[in-house]
C-alpha cells in the first residue's frame, strides 16, 4: 500500500546521522549568506512562497526500481490510459496506472498529459470507478499533478475537485489523506481552484472531516486548511466562512495539551489559527471560544516538552503558538480583567523564558517573535512586570542583548515596559548589571538600539535616585557623546545629558 508521510514529527528514535543532516539544513536556513535562505526570504517578501506537500512512499519506490523518473510521450500516455480503462485483467490495469503515475513525477510528462484531449476525463472516470485499487492509483496520479509548479497543470485538475470533496466523507483513511493533500496543493496553486472549491462546499466538507479519529487524516486536513487560509482573498471570502463553521472549536480541541496531543497534527492547526488570527477578521469570537486559555496551556506544555527532548522540531509548533498568543493579546476582548479569558498566569512567563532559551540554542531567528510576545504580555500588565522581577528574569533578559540588533531593541523595549511603571519597579532594576549593560549598548552604532537605551535611561533617571549619578561616574556622558550628531538621536541625547548633569 502506498503510504505517505506518517507523523512527520517523530519522537527521538532518529539516528545521529539524521540529526546531523537536519542541523546542516537548519544552518543552511539561518546562515545569512546561505543562498537558499536568501532566495526563500526573497520569495516570501514577494509573496510567492508556495509550499506544497508531496506524498510519496519511498519504500514502494525502492521496490519499483529506484527513483528514475521516466518522461512519457503522448503515445505512451494514451496507451497507459487505454489499458487502465479497458484492460481486461485488473492487475494489468493497475500496472498501467502505476506506470503513468511514475511518469507524471516529471514536469514534462505532466504538460503532455494535460494537453492530451480527454486525459483528465479518463483519469476522473478511473477515480470514480468502484475498483478500489484503480481508484487509489488514479488519485495518486492526480496528486502528482497537484504538486506541479505550473498553474495550468493544477487548473487542469479542476474537474476532479467535486469528487475529491465527496470522498472526504468516506471512510478509507488513506484515501481521504491523499485527497486532502491533493486538495491542499491545488488550493495553494490557483485562485481559480479556490473559486470553485468554495461553492462546492469545501468548508462544510472539512468541518465534517475534522471529526475523523485518524491522525494522518487530521494532519492532512490541517495542511489543506492552512493553504486555504493563506489565500490572498482569505480575509474577505474564506475566513468568515471558516469562523462561521464548527472548525474553530475542533481546531482548539486538537490543540489541547495532554497525552493525546499529536505534534504533526498540532503544527498544522496552529498555523491555521495563526492565519486566521493575523487576518484580524473576528478574533473576539476565538477568544470567547477559549483560544487564549488553550494556547496559554499549550505554551506551558511546550516549555515542559523542550526540557525533556533534545530535538524534535518543537519550534515548528512553538512559533505559530507564540504568534497566535501575541496577536490575540492585542484584542480588546483579551483585556477583560478577572474574566476567564484574561491571560494572567505567571507560569506563561516562565514558559516563555524557557522557550527563549530553547530558541537561543536551536533557532535564534525566532528570538524576536518570542520577545514580541514578551512585550505584549508586559506592556500593559503591572502583574507580569512584577513577575519578571520576582522570578529573577531581568538578568537572563540582559544576557540576550548580545545576540542581534533586532533582539536588543526588543529586550530594551521590555525593560522600558517595566521601568515606565514607576519607582517601585525601577528599584528592582537597579543596580545589578543594568548600568554596565546599557553603557555597552551605547557603544554600539545601531540607531534604534541606542535610541531605546536612551529611552530606558531617561526612565531610570526619572524614577531611580542615584541612577544619574552612577551613570556620570561610569563615564556615561562620554558614551553619549558619539551620538550627539546623529539626527534621530540628537534631541534625546542632549535632553539626557541635561538630566544627568542637572537633574
Amino acid at each position: 500500500m502506498w503510504r505517505g508521510r506518517r507523523g512527520l514529527l517523530r519522537p527521538s528514535g532518529c539516528g545521529v546521522e539524521e540529526l546531523r543532516c537536519r542541523r546542516r539544513e537548519r544552518e543552511a536556513g539561518t546562515r545569512e549568506d546561505g543562498v537558499m535562505a536568501v532566495a526563500l526570504r526573497k520569495a516570501r517578501r514577494e509573496q510567492q512562497l508556495v509550499s506544497k506537500r508531496l506524498l510519496r512512499d519511498e519504500a514502494t519506490e525502492e521496490a519499483e526500481g529506484g527513483r528514475v523518473v521516466v518522461i512519457l510521450g503522448e503515445a505512451q500516455i494514451q496507451e497507459f490510459l487505454r489499458l487502465a480503462q479497458r484492460g481486461i485483467e485488473e492487475k494489468e490495469r493497475e500496472r498501467a496506472l502505476v506506470s503513468l503515475r511514475r511518469g507524471l513525477q516529471h514536469p514534462e510528462t505532466q504538460q503532455t498529459f494535460i494537453r492530451l484531449e480527454g486525459s483528465i476525463r479518463t483519469l476522473v472516470g478511473l477515480l470514480t470507478s468502484n475498483q478500489a485499487l484503480l481508484q487509489l492509483e488514479a488519485a495518486r496520479c492526480l496528486h502528482e499533478l497537484s504538486h506541479s509548479e505550473q498553474s495550468a497543470v493544477a487548473e487542469a485538475c479542476l474537474p476532479a475537485t467535486s469528487y475529491l470533496l465527496t470522498y472526504l466523507s468516506g471512510h478509507s483513511s488513506d484515501f481521504i489523506e491523499l485527497c486532502l493533500y491533493t486538495l491542499g496543493n491545488l488550493i495553494v496553486e490557483s485562485e481559480a481552484v479556490r473559486r470553485q472549491l468554495l461553492p462546492q462546499g469545501i468548508v462544510p466538507a472539512l468541518a465534517a472531516c475534522i471529526q475523523s479519529p485518524h491522525l494522518t487524516v487530521l494532519e492532512a486536513l490541517g495542511y489543506a486548511l492552512s493553504q486555504l487560509l493563506q489565500a490572498k482573498e482569505a480575509p474577505e471570502k474564506i475566513i468568515p466562512l471558516v469562523l462561521g463553521s464548527t472548525l474553530p472549536q475542533h481546531i482548539l480541541q486538537l490543540l489541547q495539551p495532554g497525552p493525546k496531543l499529536n505534534l504533526g497534527v498540532a503544527v498544522e492547526f496552529a498555523w491555521c489559527l495563526h492565519y486566521i488570527i493575523c487576518s484580524q477578521v473576528n478574533n473576539a469570537l476565538l477568544i470567547t471560544q477559549g483560544a487564549l486559555t488553550t494556547l496559554g496551556l499549550l505554551l506551558l506544555d511546550l516549555a515542559a516538552a523542550v526540557q525533556r527532548t533534545e530535538d524534535a522540531g518543537l519550534e515548528l509548533l512553538v512559533c505559530p503558538v507564540v504568534r497566535c498568543l501575541s496577536n490575540l493579546l492585542t484584542e480588546a476582548a483579551a483585556e477583560t480583567v478577572g474574566g476567564p479569558m484574561h491571560l494572567q498566569d505567571e507560569r506563561v512567563l516562565a514558559a516563555l523564558f524557557i522557550l527563549l532559551q530553547f530558541f537561543l540554542h536551536k533557532q535564534p531567528s525566532l528570538l524576536p517573535e518570542g520577545l514580541w510576545l514578551l512585550n505584549n504580555l508586559t506592556a500593559n500588565s503591572p502583574s507580569f512586570c512584577t513577575s519578571l522581577i520576582s522570578l529573577d528574569l531581568i538578568e537572563p533578559l540582559l544576557h540576550l542583548l548580545s545576540v542581534s540588533n533586532v533582539v536588543s531593541v526588543l529586550v530594551l523595549t521590555v525593560l522600558c515596559n517595566v521601568a515606565e511603571k514607576g519607582p517601585a519597579y525601577c528599584q528592582h532594576l537597579w543596580p545589578g548589571l543594568l548600568l554596565p549593560t546599557l553603557l555597552d549598548t551605547l557603544a554600539l552604532s545601531d540607531t534604534e538600539v541606542v535610541g531605546q537605551s536612551v529611552e530606558l535611561l531617561q526612565l531610570l533617571f526619572l524614577y531611580q535616585p542615584g541612577a544619574a549619578q552612577a551613570f556620570l561616574q561610569q563615564s556615561g556622558l562620554q558614551a553619549l557623546q558619539r551620538h550627539e550628531e546623529v539626527a534621530q538621536l540628537q534631541d534625546r541625547v542632549h535632553a539626557l545629558q541635561q538630566t544627568a548633569l542637572h537633574g
Binding site: 526570504r41 514607576g422 530606558l456
Partner: protein
C-alpha cells in the same frame, strides 16, 4: 542564557499571578523629545517580521528540515481474499484491503447492492430510490435535498436539484453521484414500476445514484 533554577519549579507549580507592585508614573516620562510609550504590537499577515518563521514553515512542508526516518517495510501478509459474499478480490496488504472494503462494501445499499462513497450519499439514495413514502411526499413538497454537505436547499425534482448543483455549487453536469433513476424516468413514462437490476460483481462502471 542562564535561567534561575526556581523557574522550572514555577512552571510545574500552580497557576497564579503576581500581586503587582504599585504603579506610579511621572508626567515627565515619555515627554518630548522622548517617545517611549508601553504598547502592545500586532503584526498583520504579510509583515516582514514573520519572514524567518514563514521560511521555516515552508521548508518544513517541503520536507527539508524534518526528514522522515526510513519507512518500515510495508507489512505484507499471506494473500487472503475478501470475505464478503460474492466478492473474490485478493490482497496481500491490509491497507489495500481497507480501501477496497470501504469503497465496495462500506456504504452499500441493502436493496440494490450499489456502493456509495459515503454514508450521506447512501442515505440519500435509499430515501430517493427505495422509500415509497418519499415518492408520495415528493408529489406535494420539495424533497430532493442538495448533495453538498451544509447546503439545506430542497427541490421538487432531481432535475431541479442537478440544476442547483451545477449553477450554485459549480458541480460538473455529469456528476457521477447524481444520475437520475433510469427506472424513475421509465416509470414516469410507462406508469409502471420497473425492477432495477442489481450488480453483484464490480464491473468497473461508474457508481450511480
Amino acid at each position: 542564557m542562564q535561567l534561575p533554577p526556581a523557574l522550572h519549579a514555577r512552571l510545574a507549580g500552580a497557576p497564579g499571578a503576581a500581586a503587582p507592585l504599585p504603579v506610579q508614573r511621572d508626567s515627565l516620562a515619555g515627554n518630548a523629545p522622548f517617545r517611549f510609550a508601553a504598547r502592545q504590537v500586532r503584526f498583520p499577515r504579510e509583515h516582514e517580521f514573520f519572514e524567518d518563521g514563514d521560511v521555516q514553515r515552508h521548508l518544513y512542508l517541503q520536507d527539508v528540515i524534518t526528514q522522515v526516518a526510513a519507512e518500515p517495510e510495508r507489512p505484507r501478509v499471506p494473500e487472503f481474499t475478501c470475505q464478503v459474499a460474492g466478492c473474490c478480490q485478493a490482497f496481500d496488504a491490509l491497507e489495500d484491503y481497507e480501501h477496497h472494503y470501504h469503497t465496495l462494501h462500506g456504504n452499500v445499499c441493502s436493496y440494490c447492492k450499489r456502493a456509495f462513497p459515503s454514508g450521506h450519499l447512501l442515505d440519500t439514495h435509499i430515501q430517493e430510490w427505495h422509500d415509497s413514502l418519499f415518492q408520495i411526499l415528493a408529489e406535494r413538497q420539495d424533497m430532493y435535498q442538495c448533495l453538498v454537505e451544509g447546503c439545506t436547499e430542497k427541490f421538487r425534482t432531481s432535475r431541479d436539484r442537478k440544476q442547483h448543483l451545477v449553477a450554485h455549487h459549480l458541480y460538473p453536469a455529469d456528476f457521477r453521484f447524481d444520475k437520475p433513476r433510469k427506472a424513475q424516468q421509465a416509470w414516469e413514462r410507462a406508469g409502471a414500476l420497473v425492477q432495477h437490476p442489481s450488480p453483484s460483481v464490480p464491473c468497473g462502471c461508474a457508481l450511480t445514484l
